[in-house]
Amino acid sequence: MTLRKNLTLLCSAMVFAGTIFSCEGPAGEDGIDGQNGIDGVDGENGQDGQDGADLTLPPYTPLETSATPANVLAVTSDFSDIEVEVILSSEDVLPSTPDFIYGSMADGAGLLKDTDTSYVLINNIEADYSIARIYLDQNLKPFYGEYILNANATAFTAQCSGSLITPEEHGFGPLYLSGGEWGGASKGVFVTSPYKRAEDASFAEMLPALGQWSTENAVVIGKNAFPGKTVAFIGDDHSDNTEPSGQLGMYVGPRGDLNSGKLYGLKVSTAGVAFEMDMEEGTEYDAEWVELEETQIDLLDAEAKAKGVIGFSRLEDIDWRRGSAENEREIYFCVTGRNRESLQDKGSQTGRVYKVSLNESYPTGTAKITCILDGDKVGGVAEAFHSPDNIVATENYLYIQEDPNGVVNSYPNKTAADHFARLYQYNLATGELKVVLECDQTTAETLGYGTAGSMWEITGMIDVTDVVGGEESTFFMITQNHGWEPAEGQFTDPKAFPDADNSDSSEGSILFAIKGLAR
């Protein structure tokens, strides 16, 4: 401890000199390297400082009601008893932070308890390449919004799905992981403290040990799955027109350690499975984890392929089942699908959902994989799938959210998928798949929210029941409202994207609370 203090002190002094030089000096020729000095003697520890005063916050005014109506979603009759409410949308002005804009294409999210009477929501704002922090009161009314990671920090890399690591669920944290996938090409996993100061929004940290993938998401599974270990899954949203190339990565390290562990990829070991489409819906296949030593994007992909790691047609969101140690070893993920002749019989075209059951003793042991829902199966349970993208696993259900990629136009047999983005409920015990709700873009268009021709995405759903408590369940869910742009200005906050008037996207987002869904 003392040594580090001393070194830091020494370095600060050295660097200070360097700073002066680099600020004012001309760019001279490189000099000859000096000799290293002898280490100084450690200094004494300083005395403890005085306790600071208690933090007092000004009284904030919450947003009582969003300007955006909830009927842009149509709930099906099977779920008529659920309550859907808009918490916040891009057109809302928070009374206490009126400059804050809930930006373009909100995506992954996580909710933490902040104080006895407030919560903090961490939320990726994908198209503004940033992460927002929004405080909510005990009634889930937002009262304060800010950005903790801006587009400069991510170097204009889209933050897609996100996941929160908390001491309660994971045994360490809190930390927020998000995937850097498109746009900026800073591909990999970003890690952010939920308590990061907004002033430091320009500094981002990545996790190189988790590898350079076209990362959709990185998800750490529950602490009971493998005591003493951190096991994270990485969804590789790699799109390829030659062969499905989105792999399922796994990182295994000591508990709380996201830097010194090892990387693995999932390989299906049952004979005859070279491609995902060689797996049929409902059949369980043997799988194993092969160690991957490379982390550089091309070498990692080549190594994984050479070692037989299975590729999916764009692996998207991942979640793990709640409820017991055994449940926590059950992983579910969405494959969004890709419709190309060159991928026929190799990769999913309209989307699939898979289950991976991990080994009960150790994470790298033999596993099982099952395609539980296959959108390409004509007459099948999931025939209506139109690009399932995001997934939430509770103890008894999966909630599957769509990001329609237009398969209906290019895949004439897929009339069942001719609908707006849907939220489905899948019953893990019975296998029943029900539609919970669908974006009602016909109504939305008449209300001035985009056009029916520009399909929205449903995303970012999280189960926050354990955080907010209460009798009935609470979920958050987000829509990316493609085609909905403000009459004036931009749905982009200048604190997220400095040159907001020239931001790459201005399509709005809506954050909903859904109460009463079964868990």
Binding site: C11, A27, S186, F275, A302
Partner: protein, 596 residues
């Protein structure tokens, strides 16, 4: 408030650099700087230089600071292009609108960013300072993210060697052609900076050399390379640079691999044992085809060839693949647009199948991801095979001759339509002999180029700009050194040789109706060009003279046709008649000796 902010930032900086210093303290026993120190200090300098550039106001200092920044960027290139290749490519993207067409509903369009963008913004009479600064700011923020999250610690000896090889290829195939310095034409200085860095990387690894004379050989070779690069962009002899240096460095690289006792555990596009860029044996075909492509064999190629010429594969028994892809014309058909069933003209000119393997996408609009997928469209098209995949397999499975051959090659009693397509693809992929006069010369097997051909080669790879789109070694749009993507371009091809109006074929637009992709077509190979006329996707030009004239005036836009988002600069290439003759003479050396 402001003071607080500044203090916070300073604190942040102390902390970051403090950490760095702790690390460098640990390595104090070494006398040469580590690779990490070399990389980090150049990255720091680059950010610092860009900050100076951001503050500059007048043209002279903008240009000076830009060139200084560029020097650091190029020094960093060999390492950055390896450890952080996606970011490197972002920083070195062409100054063209970026269109990512993921899916029908997922089209992302972004303004270009990076060094080429600021270069074009600075090397112009009218500088838009506000725009320039925002572009510089983007680069700085990207570099700061890279600084903070560098993976240089993960570089093992095989990574250093791969980075070295990638750089050598990069300089030869894009660096010296002017590909990434279109306005300042700083390419030869860039190449020198890259080679200086390669020398540093090798010197840092001095202790890895068992045979120290090998390091000396490298030093001498890089010295000689630097000497040859010390000339001007126009008169630089690129052709002999590749023969004398690139080839030699391939050899040194292999010896170093052996000397270091390193093996490379994975294979990318280039095979690890490749001794030249100019051979089909040098490329890992699975990189281009995917993992499940059938392994090529003489027997399978013969079987694929038989299927290729079998008219019974089509619905009407009138057409085979060979109907539009004639071997004596390098597998084109000499027609403006191919003639399909019922003598109906098809959409476009038949492309050569030679070297077709080495592309990321197929058809002029890139709508198919591999040859096997491309065949599906041909089989289904009512003006082509007018059949379907099940008919295809029914026919082949009822033919005892084919079944016998499939039994002996694949060990199958019956075959799927996919295996039939895979087999034809094996034949098509075999059509890459690298046997042209150009190949024999560039490999150093013979020295038979005439003065005119040599001049043509150097124009092609230099001031005429041809090689900035038709990349060596395939002369197509597949971009080295990753060979992951085959590019699309919008040249503004006219409808007729009268050069008055834009061709009505919307090209890539047809695939996802992306307006920003209207009139975009894939860059085809120029190998065997003297056999593949008429030229362009619509066969508008009969002669190579017409083609070069088209480029020489700046494409459609240069001819006065309005072409939104033309990717070819609309300026004249200033080629003389002699230059044009020399270019054609060179292109004629690209004809394979064994024609089929």
């Amino acid at each position: 408030m402001k003071d607080t902010l500044i203090r916070c930032i300073k604190k942040g900086a102390y902390f970051t650099i403090g950490l760095f210093f702790v690390i460098s303290c640990n390595t104090r026993k070494s006398t040469t700087p580590s690779l990490k120190q070399y990389y980090t200090s150049n990255l720091d300098s680059l950010v610092y230089q860009l900050q100076l550039l951001e503050k500059s106001n007048d043209l002279t200092s903008l240009q000076t600071e830009y060139l200084k920044s560029r020097k650091y960027f190029k020094r960093l290139e060999p390492i950055m292009q390896f450890i952080d290749v996606e970011n490197y490519e972002t920083l070195n993207q062409p100054n063209l609108l970026q269109v990512e067409e993921e899916d029908q509903t997922n089209i992302r369009i972004q303004e270009p960013q990076g060094f080429q963008v600021i270069e074009e913004a600075i090397f112009t009479p009218e500088v838009d300072l506000k725009l320039l600064r925002s572009k510089v700011h983007f680069i700085i923020s990207r570099l700061q993210l890279m600084q903070k999250n560098s993976t240089i610690d993960r570089m093992k000896p095989h990574h250093i060697l791969l980075a070295l090889q990638t750089s050598i290829i990069s300089v030869a195939t894009t660096g010296i052609t002017g590909f990434d310095s279109p306005a300042a034409l700083n390419s030869l200085t860039d190449a020198k900076d890259v080679y200086q860095s390669l020398l540093t990387m090798l010197s840092v690894k001095e202790s890895a050399f068992m045979d120290s004379s090998l390091l000396d050989e490298w030093k001498n070779e890089i010295d000689a390379t630097l000497t040859d690069l010390d000339t001007d962009f126009e008169s630089f002899d690129r052709f002999h640079f590749i023969i004398n240096h690139t080839n030699k460095q391939f050899d040194l690289w292999h010896r170093t691999l052996k000397d270091w006792g390193v093996s490379i555990p994975v294979e990318l596009a280039l095979k690890n044992n490749a001794t030249t860029l100019f051979s089909s044996n040098s490329f890992n075909i699975n990189h281009f085809t995917g993992q499940d492509a059938l392994e090529s064999s003489e027997e399978l190629i013969q079987l694929g060839k038989e299927l290729f010429y079998d008219k019974n594969l089509s619905g009407t028994d009138q057409m085979s693949c060979g109907s539009c892809h004639l071997p004596e014309l390098a597998f084109t058909d000499g027609q403006t647009k191919s003639i399909g069933l019922n003598k109906k003209a098809l959409l476009r000119n038949a492309p050569t199948l030679k070297y077709a393997a080495y592309q990321s996408d197929f058809f002029y609009d890139k709508r198919a991801g591999n040859l096997e997928g491309q065949m599906v469209s041909v089989v289904n098209d009512e003006n082509e095979f007018h059949s379907d995949l099940s008919e295809l397999s029914t026919y082949v499975n009822s033919n005892s001759n084919y079944l016998k051959q499939f039994q002996s090659t694949l060990g199958k009693d019956t075959v799927t339509d996919y295996q039939i397509r895979q087999t034809i693809a094996v034949y098509i992929r075999s059509l890459a002999p690298f046997s042209s006069k150009f190949d024999r010369n560039i490999r150093g097997e013979e020295e038979t180029f005439t003065q005119e051909e040599l001049e043509g080669a150097n124009l092609f790879m230099g001031t005429a700009g041809c090689a900035t789109c038709h990349f060596l070694p395939f002369f197509n749009g597949t971009v080295p050194p990753r060979w992951k993507e085959t590019e699309l371009e919008n040249l503004g091809i006219p409808a007729t040789a009268a050069n008055k109006i834009l061709d009505t074929d919307p090209g890539r637009y047809n695939v996802f109706a992306t307006e920003e992709r209207r009139s975009f077509f894939k860059t085809p190979t120029l190998r065997n060009i003297s056999l593949t006329g008429p030229y362009m996707h619509n066969g508008v030009y009969d002669s190579l003279e017409q083609v070069i004239d088209f480029y020489n005036v700046g494409g459609g836009e240069g001819m006065g046709i309005h072409v939104p988002l033309q990717t070819l600069p609309p300026d004249s290439l200033q080629l003389s008649n002699e230059d044009i003759k020399a270019l054609i003479a060179f292109m004629e050396t690209l004809t394979d000796e064994n024609k089929y």
